[in-house]
């Protein structure tokens, strides 16, 4: 029994759905950001697995794409955490149930 592409894709799918649940269900804004990071990781793992196992004229393109995804994820994390700190400064909470100024 050897490790194949589908094993990695399965791990990526499980990791993505755990991240999806965290991003949907957690009450703390920082927790939601943690779920988004988990989803980024799952997608990156899938890209690297395809880059390793699939036949391609450009075998390195998947790696380059992952490097760009990591870059944009870092920028997104910095901005999202700055927003969380800003919301906390104005409202003394980052509980998303209580941040409902725009609720109808």
């Amino acid at each position: 029994m050897s490790v194949e592409l589908s094993h990695y894709l399965l791990v990526g799918a499980i990791l993505f759905s755990i991240g999806l649940y965290v991003a949907l269900a957690k009450r703390n804004a920082v927790g939601i950001l943690m779920g988004i990071e988990l989803m980024f990781n799952a997608v990156n793992l899938t890209l690297i697995a395809f880059s390793r196992f699939a036949e391609s004229p450009q075998p390195i393109a998947g790696h380059v794409f992952v490097v760009f995804v990591i870059t944009v994820a870092a920028a997104e994390a910095a901005l999202a955490l700055a927003l969380a700190v800003l919301v906390y400064r104005n409202r003394e909470t980052i509980d998303i149930d209580k941040i409902n100024l725009m609720r109808w």
Binding site: Y8, L10, V11, G12, Y21, A25, M34, I70, A75, A82
Partner: protein, 163 residues
């Protein structure tokens, strides 16, 4: 991948990664959740190594396990009076159902599809090839990424500046 070592490494790292991600959901303390998230990041870096992606594994350790997790810990520490109980909203059950549906769908696709796998075998070291590709074929996205990082940095500083 036929040798026993890489098979054992894959299963151990998969269990660490998924288990740590499940602990992010389960633990009741937000700080502990961040620590389990770091463990999950390190597990993913190990999985990159089993896929012979050395450069990406090091970048994962440096950026995710190093920088982003420290940023998340900072954000938790900078919100001292916010709730730290890692609780769920009223979306818990719909979120659980949706996540299970996504997992089943994508898992079924991964298992059923007949992926025509390459026989080329593992790559040798990738750092040199990635460097050449970034500065040759992908130089425009590379420059745009630097502008995006600069804009995000300036934006984060302007947002949280006290004046």
């Amino acid at each position: 991948m036929e040798d026993v070592g890489s098979i054992v490494a894959f299963w151990v790292l998969s269990v660490i990664t998924v288990g740590a991600a499940l602990m992010v959901v389960a633990v009741r303390n937000l700080i502990h959740a961040v620590l389990f998230l770091i463990l999950s990041f390190i597990g993913v870096a190990g999985l990159y190594l089993t896929l012979s992606a050395d450069f990406v594994a090091i970048a994962q350790i440096l950026i995710y396990a190093g920088a982003i997790s420290v940023l998340i810990l900072f954000a938790v520490m900078l919100t001292p009076r916010a709730a730290r109980d890692n609780a769920e909203t009223f979306l818990q059950v719909p979120g659980l159902v949706l996540a299970a549906l996504v997992a089943v769908t994508m898992g079924a696709i991964a298992l059923v599809t007949d992926w025509s796998e390459a026989t080329s075998g593992p790559m040798s070291e990738t750092a040199e090839a990635i460097g050449e590709a970034l500065l040759d074929k992908y130089v425009l996205p590379f420059e745009i990424a630097s502008v995006v990082l600069l804009a995000a940095m300036v934006g984060a500083i302007v947002l949280v500046r006290e004046d």
